[in-house]
């Protein structure tokens, strides 16, 4: 074991050793030409060609640390917005189970999931919809809206709406990618609209200084990743569709200024599965029963 650790510190790592201990390693630096790859799907994949962007985080250039301890949750959360995790997330997204079945889809909508840091703490930004809105009044959601004919693509819709609602310019958002579409209502009879969640890093944000659009947004608040990944703050609600033998489970996050539930919670659940695969297990579940 000791020999192995010293070998890691010098970066002469035999490939087969790494393959079997892939889970316990963490190395967040691009200065070394290390290329770990493993047959298992739970690899820590570090690219040796990472190109960092302007606003980056302090831990990026730190040398490998904590190799003797197992991969800790706090470290994962601290590094969750880094380039390494971004690539990992983008790899994970196509592997995730799709929620949309073969329902008819009509007009699309897009929301931006604003990954940010508030005073250095990695968080996600949420908006509280104004009570004046007709649909989903007073509920917690992400900035976004329906696709316009003038939009180039889904990502453009999300960025445009974010700019209108929160005043965050599109140019300052580092778009990671988009998750698979999620249906707006789990109602088989009506036409369901699908919503696409776009992951984007908006950097350091002070929620008090954002310029909100009062007609659409009543408030804005962040929830840190450590809050979201804390099992004590998360509950679930199982719903039973009447006249059907169908039940589905959705997550709920408590403890913040407002409760996060509904479609927003489903999207957040998918985001956490993609970004913090080892620390979050999805709560989404649906089942058909024989007799009800």
């Amino acid at each position: 074991m000791k020999l192995w650790i010293s070998a890691l510190k010098n970066n002469h790592i035999p490939q087969r050793v790494l393959a079997s201990h892939a889970r316990t390693l963490c190395c967040y630096t691009s200065n070394h030409n290390t290329n770990f790859s493993s047959k298992s799907t739970r690899t820590r994949h570090v690219s040796n060609k990472s190109n960092f962007q302007g606003k980056q985080f302090l831990s990026a250039n730190k040398p490998c640390r904590e190799l003797s301890t197992s991969f800790s949750k706090e470290t994962a959360i601290q590094n969750i917005l880094l380039e390494e995790n971004k690539l990992r997330t983008l790899e994970m997204i196509p592997k995730m189970r799709s929620i949309v079945t073969n329902e008819k889809v009509s007009v699309g909508a897009a929301v931006l999931v604003p990954l940010c840091t508030v005073k250095g703490v990695p968080s996600v930004l949420f908006t509280l919809r104004s009570s004046r809105l007709r649909s989903h009044q007073g509920e917690v959601s992400f900035p976004g809206g329906m696709c316009d004919s003038t939009d180039r693509d889904i990502v453009h819709t999300a960025l445009r709406e974010t700019e209108e609602e929160l005043g965050i310019p599109s140019s300052s958002v580092d778009v990671w990618g988009s998750l698979k579409p999620i249906p707006d209502r789990l109602n088989l009879q009506r036409n369901t609209m699908t919503v696409v969640a776009v992951l984007g890093n908006v950097g350091e944000v002070d929620p008090a200084k954002l310029k909100l659009s009062p007609r659409e947004v009543a408030a804005v608040f962040p929830l840190s990743f450590s809050h979201l990944l804390d099992p004590a703050r998360q509950r679930y609600t199982t719903m039973k569709r009447r006249h059907d033998n169908y039940s589905y489970t959705m997550p709920v996050w408590l403890g913040g200024p407002h409760r996060v539930w509904g479609l927003t919670a489903i999207m957040l659940d998918q985001v956490l599965v993609a970004m913090a695969t080892d620390w979050y297990r999805t709560v989404l579940r649906s089942s058909w029963r024989q007799c009800r």
């Binding site: 009570s131 007709r134 009044q137 509950r235 609600t237 199982t238 719903m239 009447r242 408590l254 029963r289």
Partner: protein, 520 residues
Amino acid sequence: MAARVIAARCRNIYGLKKKPHGLRNFCSSGDPGSVPLSQPLPSLPVPQYATVSNQTYDTKITTLENGLKVTSENKFGQFCTVGVLVDSGSRHEVEFPSGISHFLEKLAFNSTARFGNRDDILQQLEKYGGICDCQSSRDTIMYAVSADRKEVEPVVSLLSDVVLKPNITELEIEDTRRAIQFELEDLNMRPDPEPLLTELIHAAAFRDNTVGLPKLCPPDNILQIDQTTLFNYLSLHYVPSRMVLAGVGVKHEALVEAANKYIVGHKASWEGQGRYPVKMVDESIAQYTGGMRQLEKDMSNISLGPNKFPELTHVVIGLESCSYNEADFIPFAVLNMMMGGGGSFSAGGPGKGMYTRLYLNVLNRYHWMYNATAYHHSYEDTGLFCIHASAHPTEVRELVGVLVREFVRMAGPVGGVELSRAKTQLQSMLMMNLEARPIVFEDIGRQVLNNNTRKTPQEFCDMIAAVTEEDIRRVARRMLETKPSVAALGDLRQLHSYEDIQTGLASRDGQMPRRFTLFR
């Protein structure tokens, strides 16, 4: 002389003792005439006198090692009420067919391991001067027995049998099915649709989840529920950690001892019956969704006798309030008392004595309003504040407008007299209710089941007295920001759309949006 001889011989033949004329035998041991008045009669029980003291009996709580909580309050009286409360109700039925709690309520106190049928149980209880009852609500089910104070042990043993070892035979299930069918038909025929409306508003406010699930068994499920389903449900929910044994009028030590003897370590009748399909208890948190539920029904001919009953359409509008664990629960209760309301027959006009807001602003002003009542339902994780009103179908548009205006006015100024009247009424209602033993039993049982402590009535009175006008306006504002829930029953042609009601409640003065209609 001859008569006396014959009488004497008759008495000797039948072995009757010769009694002195004029004295009846009260005392079985010895002659009462021989005991001086300064001594108690030997064979009578020693009397226990009530003492005039300021001692309030505390509620004592003990948790046993299997998780069962035992709580009691030694209230003075000849009778005691002992019962078991279980954290199980219609809100836990997501993975099961809805209606299991309704079945369990009707199946309570039937045949068990020790008793052959309900009659045996009632006969046993009769010896102790006792009665028994089972009541289920959306989140709790209570089995209670009231009997003579001295008989704690037999009562606890009976309860343990009834709760943990029911037989639930096929015959009993058949009878229950018929009873439930009859109850559902009866509810549909009644002029007073209160239970139906409660179901509708909960289903509208908490769509498809926990508290919104039906409490009454839906007709389709009556045949689906059988012994296996019931035992599956019981095996998950009737576990000691979800139960409370509560007693009023008993000594705490005696109750704990009885619990240890008759409940701890006893095997339930559903254990060891094999594997059940549903394995996990549902711990969903209730989610308030808002929404509208309508039930079109012809209410024009609803009277069962010769007198015509007026045709009414019932509308309930509700908003999310808070759970009973939050600090805002007391202001909501005061707000509920302040709105008050009831039937228009009681309104009687000024001077009759009904001064709550719904009487003054609604029932006294609009003669066509038949009733307007405010309700507040509060659960462990959510709450619902609603107003129920009914009027003739042609007045429905006006009715909804009036209700929306009243809701918006709740966030407006509150009169000082009005507020203090509501607070005093709430305090006196609380104290008067807690003079009754069964209500004390339910109070301590529910509080310990949900919070593991019991807040005394005095604490509640202090909290009520501390409510200010600002608190009322704040909770009303909090309520008005949530999505409305609407339930309607009857002839609904004139009912507004849900979006209009939403807009009305969000507006500053409570005015409904004007819709230009050609046909009135």
